[in-house]
């Protein structure tokens, strides 16, 4: 698939440096435009009425008073969207059930969670829209609700869908339930495996739902014309996916919807789906005005995807020498109000880092009256890893083995088996463990009430569909465009790879993200896929340009293209026999653009495969206040195999950012519900993400085991880093105070209760 792939061992000129990002100055001067920063003449403001109930049948919605309010231009309900048949279909890379999706955007028969959208109003001012919302009269029949996954699985639990039969169970159950799906990955003989173990530990764990916590609330602006053409400005992780979902949900042709990629103020998976976009488009169509919707922070917490909370049981058996002989996991995940938790990923990733001959990993996808879960950084893997990496730590103690050495002994490498079937195809895990074993601080003694914990994590990483274009300007500067939203510095890494391939300075490459009409399809910026897959497209396009530049040089030299080579940014004669020609720069060739065949530019598309998984191993030192249960992070070291760092600082930034999100998940972040099923901490005051004063400097260790499938050896770097922290901190707490925490978050009241329980 790749032409003249670079030798991954070769010395790079710009790849691996850390230049300033192209989007940097607009972002430090306030000029960058995010989802909420666009406005248009004649624009209306929309406000959404949301359900105050966790579970209620919608008996009637009376919008007459609201519609009569001066300044109100349009009101929509769920029933204004076309309905969809109940099935799991494309066109997206993962089959979607649009019957579910349209009901998640706006409730129809029932409100399934507090904050579920019921109606939306567009008016000339936000204040009028807000007052109109307060005038809408909804009659609800409040129903029994369920929040916790265990409660939702009980036979007598209130049903969200009266006809939902569990998938993946044979024979199919005769009665409906809240269990949407059961899945299992098995290998070997689990009973025999445990029978051969010297030590077996089985333990149950709970984790809380946690939100991606991006600082930018979902916002968009839509302009729908009488000709059926619509433009949408939206902050998302993938404007092509926003286009596909929105067009399908509103019932329009994809070609009629042009989506502009606004700067995105954080996503972490939560902006791979749509919430406000279809409402804005429908309101704009209905009113003939541009319509802007901005979620409030409360809306974001109550109505957009957190990742699942869970109940899990994990059992692992080892030999005295540390060999893992069997592992069994049961993972019950909250999907939220509609099926689709990341439980499959969790069951696959749970034991993925280890060579285990006998594995049984079972997952349940369970609906309850919470917002539907959305992807969050390595979806599912951090949750199952909390359980697995905690149990491994206990086993290491039982057999008196260093916890890193236990992991090293069982670490997978290329050719190792997996529970889901195919063999691992890459090394990299052992190297991350070794990096910590070699770390000067790893054996540093600790003080009273202090403890050190380690854990590892696995994430698949993504490939998939991407498109990029490269154009050479008449002065020899370069413009590249991709359709991949830049959430972490991809414009810079694309420019670095283009500069390296063309042999020109980074500064001469202008790197942009194009709208859906200006470049081919790109799948979401998620799954740590962009530097890998979109990077491949960029390099492919650059290679096409190089072929063309050689051709044009051969025309200028009256020789055959095979006599022209491209190196260090110049066309050069392959040898003296061709003639005594001065090397031709990009500028020199571009200067002859017209007479050598016109504009110089190519687009390349790929459905990239060959991506390598990400492995991360981390150690953390904590201090526990034995009188309050407060846990202080003293030191955190995170090693991750990045394949090859394209932009060194941004790779480190991904690792540090993921670790700190993990620290919040471990210690304080959680969705807290009251007895009526209402979220009681829907704000940044009581949903406690880490603040600067909570943290020390986090140390990122970049391990580079190149992936031969990528021209520069890239492996995705965005996600694996959030997998280990929760278990690492739990293991550190155990080493500090001798208490095993099995429920997240490990908040002060829980830790203190564990201490007092003795």
């Amino acid at each position: 698939m790749l032409t003249n792939t670079k030798d991954i061992e070769q010395v790079m000129k710009v790849v691996g440096t850390s230049p300033v990002r192209p989007d940097g100055v607009p972002k430090v001067t306030g000029q960058a435009q995010y989802g909420a920063d666009y406005s248009l003449p004649g624009m209306l403001w929309a406000k959404v009425l949301r359900s105050p109930h966790a579970h209620a049948r919608i008996l009637s919605v009376d919008t007459s008073k609201a519609a009569a309010l001066p300044g109100v231009k349009g009101i929509i309900l769920g029933s204004d969207f076309p309905d969809h048949p109940f099935d799991y279909v494309g066109p997206e890379r993962v089959a979607q059930n649009y019957w579910h999706m349209t009901r998640n955007i706006m409730a129809r028969e029932k409100a399934l969670f507090e904050g579920h959208a019921i109606a939306a109003v567009a008016a000339t001012t936000l204040a009028i829209a807000a007052e109109a919302v307060s005038l809408i009269e909804v009659k609800y029949e409040v129903l029994q609700h369920c929040i916790d996954v265990e409660d939702a699985m009980k036979p007598d639990a209130p049903l969200l869908f009266e006809d939902m039969i569990t998938r993946g169970v044979e024979p199919a159950p005769s009665k409906p339930s809240n269990i949407s799906k059961r899945l299992e990955f098995s290998v070997g003989d689990i009973a025999a495996g445990f029978a051969s173990a010297d030590e077996v530990v089985e333990m149950s764990f709970k984790t809380a739902a946690v939100h991606q916590g991006y600082i930018e609330p979902h916002s968009c602006l839509a302009r729908y014309g009488a000709d059926g053409q619509c433009e949408l400005w939206s902050a998302s992780q993938g404007h092509f996916v926003v286009r596909a979902y929105t067009a399908k949900l509103v019932g329009m042709e994809i070609g009629n919807l042009l989506v502009h990629p606004a700067e995105i103020g954080g996503g972490f998976g939560g902006k791979t789906v749509v919430y406000v976009e279809p409402m804005a488009v429908l309101l704009s169509r209905k009113t003939g005005h541009p319509v802007k919707i901005m979620m409030s922070r409360e809306d974001v917490f109550k109505s957009t995807g957190p990742t699942s909370g869970s109940s899990m049981t994990v059992k692992i058996g080892v030999k005295k020498d540390g060999t893992i002989v069997a592992a069994e996991g049961l993972f019950k995940f909250q999907a939220g109000a509609f099926p689709g938790s990341p439980v499959m990923n969790a069951t696959m990733c749970a034991f993925a880092p280890y060579i285990i001959p006998n594995v049984k990993s079972v997952g349940f996808d369970v609906v309850s009256n919470r917002p539907k879960s959305a992807a969050y950084r390595a979806p599912g893997s951090p949750i199952s890893a909390f359980a697995v990496e905690s149990v491994l730590d206990i086993l290491a103690k039982k057999i008196g083995m260093d916890p890193l050495k236990l992991r090293l002994k069982n670490a997978v490498k290329a050719g190792s088996p997996t529970a889901w079937g195919p063999k691992h195809s890459h090394d990299g895990y052992a190297e991350t463990i070794q990096a910590l074993l070699d770390h000067p601080q790893y054996n540093k003694p600790l003080g009273k009430n202090q403890g050190r914990g380690v854990a590892s994590g696995f994430w698949f990483n993504g490939g998939g569909e991407s498109t990029a274009s490269v154009h050479i300007n008449e002065d020899g500067t370069v413009v590249i465009a991709t359709g991949s939203m830049d959430v972490g510095g991809s414009r810079a890494s694309m420019a670095l790879m283009a500069a390296e391939t063309l042999g020109v300075p980074y500064e001469s490459v202008r790197s942009t993200v194009a709208d859906t009409a200006s470049i081919g399809y790109n799948h979401v910026t998620g799954g740590s896929r962009v530097t890998y897959a979109t990077g491949i497209a960029v390099v492919e396009a650059c290679n096409k340009v190089i072929e063309d530049l050689r051709l044009r040089a051969s025309l200028m030299w009256d020789t055959d293209i095979k006599n022209v080579v491209w190196s260090d940014g110049y066309a050069k004669p392959v040898d003296k026999s061709v003639g005594n020609f001065e090397p031709l720069s990009l500028k020199a060739i571009a200067g002859k653009r017209a007479v050598t065949g016109g504009p110089i530019g190519y687009e390349a598309s790929t459905n990239a495969g060959g991506q390598a998984p990400g492995f991360s191993t981390q150690f953390v030192d904590v201090e526990v206040d034995p009188e309050t249960g407060a846990v202080k992070i003293l030191q955190f070291v995170a090693a991750q195999d990045v394949g090859r760092a394209i932009h060194r600082d941004y790779c480190a930034g991904q690792i540090v950012g993921g670790v700190v999100q993990g620290i919040g998940w471990a210690l304080n972040e959680e969705y807290i519900y009251d007895s009526k099923g209402r979220l009681s901490n829907a704000g940044f005051l009581d949903y406690r993400i880490p603040v600067a004063s909570d943290l020390p400097m986090i140390e990122a260790v970049l391990v580079e085991v190149p992936n031969p499938s990528h021209p520069f050896g890239v492996k995705g770097v965005g996600e694996a880093n959030i997998v280990p922290p929760m278990a690492a901190i739990a293991n550190a707490i155990e080493n500090a105070i001798g208490r095993r925490m099995t429920e997240l978050p490990m908040s002060p009241p829980r830790v203190l209760a564990a201490i007092d329980a003795g």
Partner: protein, 158 residues
């Protein structure tokens, strides 16, 4: 609702606007004056993305009424660079990769400048506590703290 006529100074320039008495300074800046560099992350004073200074005092503009701007002087991110010349903090944020998505960056820069105006030689801990009212979900804060310390060093000529 009857609007108040407000006369104020923003980034050194005289500005007049009309606003209803219950509208926040943040909404005035963004929606009336189209100064969208100041961001809304929460609207409740918990994230610091809307940080501005009001007569030199660091505040969340979402917790200030527009009418309170009367006769006062406001500094926003739009006034931080001097023409083509970036403020040293802006430069250090770029050099040290102190931003990823960048939505929190204007608030951090305004807050950091207000710290360095009071204390041009802060410790790492002082920087971390001063900036605790500014949430960043991308960076884990490392590079932000480093950038502020480096900016302080340069401003001291050290």
């Amino acid at each position: 609702m009857s609007k108040h006529h407000v006369t104020t100074v923003i980034n050194g320039d005289p500005v007049e606007f009309l606003c209803q008495p219950n509208v926040s300074l943040l909404d005035v800046l963004r929606d009336e004056l189209n100064m969208t560099g100041t961001k809304e992350g929460c609207g409740t004073g918990d994230c610091g993305a809307c940080s501005v200074t009001l007569d030199g005092r660091l505040v969340c503009s979402c917790l200030v009424l527009g009418v309170e701007a009367q006769g006062k002087s406001i500094q926003t991110i739009e006034g931080m660079a001097n023409g083509e010349t970036l403020h040293v903090l802006q430069r250090k944020f770029l050099e040290h990769a102190a931003l990823q998505c960048g939505i929190c960056t204007p608030g951090f820069l305004i807050a950091a400048r207000s710290l360095l105006e009071r204390n041009n030689n802060p410790t790492e801990e002082e920087v971390r506590f001063w900036l605790a009212g500014n949430l960043c979900r991308c960076t884990g804060y490392n590079n932000i703290i480093t950038a502020v310390l480096e900016a302080a060093r340069e401003m001291r000529g050290a």
